[in-house]
Symmetry: C2
Subunit: 282 residues, 2 copies
């Protein structure tokens, strides 16, 4: 099944977010786990629906928070994190992220973003004192979670052209900016180009096979493929106001591309390309 | 308290997403409701935490779905929507959106996006057959929910410069693209420029007062301010592959700006500008 090239064994966390155990997302999650284990890696899986993961941040996340006191989420999460007093299921997920050399998020694109249950994993696990905040290194640089690679594997109902550079939905990397740059890069992780399966609502068998082959290649390159060349905050490109300094970018660059280094090659190919009707759900 | 200019009475839905009833978001929600009612409008509020809104899409959303059958989310949501057989709390929210002439989303920016509970409102309420899909008009054009204005009101922990055109977090409008263009515009609603309060973790009293004054102006302009000039899918700008046709854009335009009309003025000012330490939570 696998044709992985020999690699140093690594530790990988796969976070999966689909309610249906027979879904394409479940198939891709199982494929990733099997492929990575066959290559000698250690794998843990957080199957958020199977875990009945609570999606919403609330006072129950912070057992020491007094019920009559105003909940200031960042302050409460930082206090609980530094005191080792987070809800146990949050602490357990933080331990998995700390353990991991790479994190893979497997999800369907719902409303141009992650499903709520996965957003709730981000909101609750990446507390102040763990993923960001005054108690850890500054963002976009060494970062709290530096040294970990991060890969989005996303199923998309729409056809790829609608997510291409001139596609009406916006370029997939721009649509995923809050995850790629906002969560991964902000916390110090090293994001790869997303892996996407388009036309996912009705994927013919031979395109599923092609998607698995391509996903296998991306998994084989998890620790060796070129990463997205986002700029570091402390690399001399940004001023103290966190704005890109004048003239740093290549002429004609604008929008989110401002935050890509121009001294690096683009990453690898991003997925397979069936042509199916555009739909907002994957 | 209010200085609203006389308007035609309209119907407005405010969706609010913060766990703390004494939070800045709760203050802004209450301010909006009072301000809009004082101007003669009808207002409904969906306070998602107070409603204990279930954030996750699952088979319980579709009571007729057979437990042993594979859950294909888009197909199941479309069947249930067209049959009038969605879970009652979803149908109730759809009724509020249908009723509304404008929808306001009030939320803190968590991990560069909406809190999970609000993402779950989007995931569950905007079903196929209601917000998109073959049973309703095509997206980005007349759209299923055409005729409704849509306003994001967001609190942001970071300072504004980090979300400015050259700011390291990305321009706020680009970070919010999945909501502004992906949810609102896709479903036919008319998005306004977001209203943002920066430095929200520790907002001095006089900046809160300034924020309320500015929010009041934005609420007064809810039905009259210029909207974001996104391009329509059927306006002749896009090909059948849903890509922008060559040469449609102004020279030098790239990224998400490709999808803005160039024949329109920019929208109004987007918020207030205190200067506070950058933090990812609002």
């Amino acid at each position: 099944m696998t044709e992985a090239t020999p690699q140093q064994p690594q530790k990988i966390l796969v976070v999966s977010a689909h309610p249906e155990p027979r879904s394409l997302n479940a198939v891709l999650t199982a494929f990733a786990v099997e492929h990575l284990r066959a290559a000698g890696h250690e794998v843990q899986v957080s199957d958020l629906y199977a875990m009945k993961w609570k999606a919403t941040v609330d006072a129950d996340d912070f057992p020491d928070h007094a019920a009559d006191r105003r909940l200031q989420v960042m302050a409460a999460s930082e206090r609980a994190t530094l005191a080792g007093r987070l809800a146990p299921e949050i602490a357990a997920e933080q331990e998995k992220v700390r353990w991991a050399d790479a994190v893979i998020l497997q999800f369907p694109l719902w409303w141009f973003s992650v499903p709520a249950i996965l957003k709730g994993w981000m909101d609750r696990v990446f507390t102040s004192g763990f993923g960001y905040g005054p108690a850890v290194p500054p963002p976009y640089s060494e970062g709290a979670l530096a040294g970990r690679r991060a890969l989005v594997s996303v199923t998309v109902g729409a056809r790829e052209s609608a997510f291409s550079d001139r596609g009406i939905h916006g370029r997939l990397t721009d649509v995923l900016h809050p995850v790629q740059h906002g969560l991964f890069w902000f916390t110090g992780m090293t994001p790869l180009e997303p892996f996407a399966v388009y036309g996912a609502n009705d994927l013919p068998e031979e395109q599923l096979a092609a998607a698995k082959r391509e996903f296998g290649r991306r998994l084989d390159g998890l620790f060796t493929d070129a990463s997205v060349p986002f700029r570091a905050l402390d690399g001399g490109d940004y001023g103290r106001d966190m704005r890109l300094l004048p003239g740093v970018e290549a002429p004609g660059t604008s929008g989110l591309d401002l935050h890509l280094r121009t001294d690096a090659d683009a990453g690898p190919d991003t997925g397979i390309r069936p042509d199916a009707p555009a739909r907002p759900r994957g």
